[in-house]
Amino acid sequence: MDDSKRKFINICLGGVAALAATAIAAVTYPLFRYYLVPPTDKKSGGKTSIPLNEIALGDAKFFEFNGVAAVLVRKQDGTLAALSAVCPHLGCIVQWEKDRQDFLCPCHAGYFTADGAVISGPPPRALAKIPYSLANGVVTIG
């Protein structure tokens, strides 16, 4: 095989490699997005509404907020707190203890106040607060 022929073949091979590279690049990212993103519910705009009368005094309501467990507490004194229900220790979901008016993480016995602050146990920090607003007896979270 002479040199010019070899050179030509090498150029073509380079072209093939370039094509393969563009194909991989063109497909990988969209496929990654396909795999990754189940689009969030656009209609509610990432907000959740809960009528206040659904929660008794001293009770808590668990719901899903932006794909993560969250909780709305109506404390004995009538004030509200909207918190992430995910324990910052290892990601278990906390439970509301009505009689003690606090949160218990069942995985490693982490205790939190009704406002999410750590009382005892391994959790490194408080439960994350979620902004909310109250209007006409309906709590809008988010």
Partner: protein, 259 residues
């Protein structure tokens, strides 16, 4: 008399081609089983109805005439709600049972106020058994001039032409979008409600109101027609196909030089 009726009905049932065994083809109601085989005066309503928009949507005889479509022996018993041919003055109320918006506008219009005094009812223009989807063609010289001149009717018709054209264009567009797998459900619902408002409003016969409302509806329709645009699929397609062809070309050049 009743015995004859039953014999006739049985005969009709034998003559009628059996419905396809496949799937759950809706059972033919007894009204049709019997009437279809009778002389013209009694079977014509069935033939006419079969071409109607009501037939298309599964609105059968009993919706207007009452009675029991499942029980042959008692189908025309007043005790089962059979009312026969409705009196002309009761027609708007009867149709209004389903077409509520239209009836409200009609009742307030010159047409509705003349009800019982020679004024037209729903069936005067729309027909009874062979009702088709309402269209602008109903407002015609032939229909309107049986009672009055065509001047005002023509004015109304002109005020409606543009909106009607827009509605049709959007309908066509929805079918195309649908055939591309785009979710047109919300669009269709909105179009349906706008078309409904448009058709109902016409019956007021109030030219200024029709002009005003048409403008509103047109504005809404403008918004609708912009929705659900086609993707950039075309350009991507050209690139992808070009890429494959280029690959084929490169491979064949290498092959030619190696062979």
């Amino acid at each position: 008399m009743r015995r004859w009726g039953i014999i006739l009905m049985l005969l009709a049932a034998c003559v009628m081609p059996s419905t396809q065994a496949m799937g759950a083809a809706p059972q033919v109601i007894v009204c049709i089983q019997c009437h279809a085989a009778q002389p013209a005066r009694l079977s014509d309503p069935v033939t006419l109805w079969q071409t109607s928009i009501h037939a298309e949507h599964g609105i059968t005889c009993n919706a207007c005439h009452g009675g029991d479509p499942m029980d042959a022996a008692n189908s025309m018993d007043p005790a089962r709600g059979y009312r026969g041919v409705p009196a002309p003055t009761s027609v708007p109320a009867l149709c209004g049972g389903c077409h509520m918006g239209v009836t409200k506008h009609y009742m307030n219009s010159a047409h509705g106020r003349a009800l019982g005094r020679g004024g037209p009812t729903c069936v005067t223009c729309h027909g009874s058994h062979d009702i088709t989807r309402a269209s602008l063609e109903l407002i015609s010289k032939k229909n309107c001039t049986t009672c009055h001149t065509f001047d005002k009717a023509l004015m109304i018709r002109r005020a409606m032409v543009k909106t009607d054209g827009m509605l049709k264009a959007i309908e066509k567009r929805i079918t195309i979008l649908k055939s591309q797998g785009i979710d047109t459900d919300p669009l269709e619902k909105k179009l349906f409600s706008l078309r409904n408002r448009f058709h109902a409003m016409y019956h007021s016969l109030d030219v200024t109101l029709i002009r005003e409302e048409s403008a509103h509806i047109q504005a809404e329709l403008e918004k609708t027609s912009g929705a659900g645009g086609a993707g950039t699929g075309y350009l991507v397609g050209v690139i992808a196909v070009g890429w494959a062809l280029l690959a084929a070309l490169l491979f064949s050049m290498i092959k030619k030089n190696i062979d």
